[in-house]
């Protein structure tokens, strides 16, 4: 039962393993220990979480950084208070995939994407940014890639299976089934090519005003992050976590909230910093890149949208 002195917090999340610490902190009662009464609100896309945080439908959001999120933050509707998952070598999160036909005709590695038709959910999304990083890395022009925004995973799946696009960027969770079917070819992981800060924790002005509860929230999240990092991530080999007595309880929790069986959970464990640090430099370059593309409004930088009191820069 909720105690009278508990602060109520609504957290918006996706049912993805990249939010694992949130699930662990809730399930193991870390929030409660800190005097927080946390309620999770599940969304089916990253963008609405940012909007819901800005409109006050949730108090805190945990999800990927998108151009929409930065624009909301740029207008003062929310601020980033912590880091969450990152793309990192050895931790499969987002992958580059090719259609069978494109693979046959020479699309074999991520850098071959130049000049191809690439499906993604939306322009200005984290997938788009990943392609931008790739372009930077291999020195091809982003304009050479034909971006095909399809709004949803399903549309992307249909498009790449139907070979109407050459390639797609998809989260491993969505791509696994297609890979197993042999409908698409895996080219590589973003984490291996271009590591970056994928997601974070952010809050609206009303929540930020209550410094005590934000601190409590971040503290309990870090407790879970540390545990997740030391137990689950430490066991990851070849992109797959081990299932043993120590990891099993945590993996079960993640499986419960992501509606996945444990043997699938182990295959997509996103990297999460044990101290909840945020790669501020990378955030700043994300913003600059989005502003250059016209996806982000000009006139702000990372410093303007980060709540310095809370964020531990990397």
């Amino acid at each position: 039962a909720a105690r009278a002195d508990e602060t109520k917090l609504r957290i918006g999340v996706l049912r993805l393993s990249s939010s694992a610490p949130v699930f662990i902190a809730l399930d193991k009662g870390y929030f409660r220990d800190a005097g927080l009464d946390v309620e999770l609100k599940f969304f089916d896309a990253a963008q609405p979480i940012a909007v819901a945080t800005a409109t006050g439908d949730v108090d805190v959001g945990v999800t990927a950084f998108t151009a929409g999120l930065y624009n909301l933050a740029g207008k003062g509707a929310l601020k980033i208070i912590g880091g969450m998952s990152r793309d990192r070598p050895g931790f499969p999160l987002i992958g580059y995939f090719a259609s069978n036909k494109a693979y046959e005709s020479g699309l074999k590695t991520p850098k071959d994407i130049a000049g191809k038709r690439v499906a993604m959910t939306q322009v200005g999304s984290s997938f788009h940014y990943s392609v931008g990083l790739l372009a930077e890395k291999y020195g091809f022009k982003l304009a050479d890639v034909k971006i095909v925004p399809l709004q949803s995973m399903s549309n992307m799946a249909a498009a790449i299976k139907g070979e109407t696009v050459d390639a797609a960027l998809m989260p491993v969770s969505a791509a696994r089934k297609l890979m197993d079917e042999g409908a698409i070819k895996h080219l590589g992981w973003v984490g291996d090519e271009t590591p970056w800060q994928v997601s974070g924790v952010f809050a609206g002005p009303k929540t930020l005003a209550n410094a005590a509860s934000v601190s409590k929230l971040l503290a309990s999240l870090q407790r879970a992050e540390r545990e997740y990092h030391d137990v689950v991530l430490a066991s990851v080999k070849d992109g797959t976590a081990a299932i043993d007595d120590r990891t099993k309880p945590l993996l079960d929790i993640v499986g419960k909230y992501t509606n996945l069986p444990v043997d699938q959970v182990v295959g997509n464990c996103a990297y999460i910093d044990p101290d909840g640090k945020l790669d501020v430099k990378n955030i700043d370059s994300q913003i600059k890149w989005l502003q250059a593309q016209g996806f982000a409004d000009p006139g702000y930088d990372a410093a303007a949208i980060i709540a310095k009191d809370y964020v531990k820069p990397d």
């Binding site: 609405p48 909007v51 819901a52 006050g56 439908d57 949803s152 995973m153 249909a158």
Partner: protein
């Protein structure tokens, strides 16, 4: 002066050869025959099932009617169907009622007063053509992601159509009936209630037919805003997961819902407009 003529036409008809007046009034009376429609529907379903059954087409691309019915049955058996339908139903009813009530009020104002007309028509014609789906982000910003923006989306779509059909209806009330009422010194409110309202009712009910389908279209768009249940959500989700049998089951439910509402409005018309 009256005298019965004795000429008997059949008698004289034999004198010269007579021919039939050629018949030239055929056609142009296309009454629908009920069973032909059902028969055609059945035929299409059978062919469709056969095409699918013989594996001529990948069932992902075109699930057979049997698969669709099975998906629908599973949905109904699990109780989820009822949940989805009722969630959407509440949204549709709330949004429709809100849009209709405000549309009727504004439509009557436009129909009755000069100033209201000048202002109202300008705004309605400027705002009506805006696709509601384009306004979704704004509605979310303004109203959050709860039920309000969903209901508002539906209400907005319904509002404009209703306004237009109501003021057209008021305009179409025969002026001679209004003059008649005035000639008996009937006061303004009574004229509105007893002459204009019933006179505009046919057009208002015809508008309901349109707004019902608008509401049905918009519930799908509205449920793109983070809804967890609702037939629109179900369809969108099935689409996302490429579960085409479930997708089509959802579409079938939407179609049946639309047909049911259409039938309801026909009944309402038969009851309220029996004087026509």
């Amino acid at each position: 002066m009256l005298e019965r003529t004795s000429k008997d036409p059949t008698e004289t008809a034999g004198v010269q050869p007579a021919r039939h007046v050629p018949f030239r009034g055929a056609g142009f009376t296309p009454a629908a025959s009920r069973w032909a429609g059902w028969l055609a529907l059945a035929a299409v379903l059978v062919v469709w099932q056969l095409v699918g059954g013989l594996a001529l087409v990948n069932p992902l691309f075109l699930p057979t009617p049997a698969m669709i019915m099975r998906a629908l049955y599973r949905l109904a058996a699990s109780g989820a169907l009822w949940q989805h339908v009722s969630a959407s139903f509440v949204r549709i009813v709330a949004g429709w009622a809100l849009g209709t009530a405000s549309g009727i009020a504004v439509g009557f104002a436009i129909g009755l007063w000069r100033i209201a007309r000048s202002i109202g028509i300008t705004f309605v014609s400027a705002l009506f053509p805006i696709p509601k789906i384009a306004v979704l982000p704004l509605l979310i910003l303004w109203l959050g992601i709860g039920e309000q923006p969903k209901i508002a989306t539906i209400a907005l779509g319904v509002f404009f159509s209703t306004t237009i059909s109501v003021y057209s209806g008021v305009d179409a009330v025969p002026r001679n009936l209004i003059r008649m009422a005035q000639s008996f010194d009937v006061p303004f409110p009574t004229i509105v209630r007893k002459v204009i309202w019933p006179g505009a009712l046919p057009s208002i009910l015809a508008g309901f037919r349109i707004t019902a389908s608008v509401a049905l279209m918009l519930v799908v768009s509205a449920e793109m805003i983070g809804a967890e249940t609702g037939i629109g959500t179900f369809v969108l989700q099935a689409g996302n997961l490429m579960q085409t049998d479930q997708l089509m089951a959802g579409i079938l439910v939407l179609s049946l819902f639309g047909l049911a509402v259409g039938r309801l409005i026909s009944l309402l018309e038969a009851r309220l407009l029996h004087w026509r």
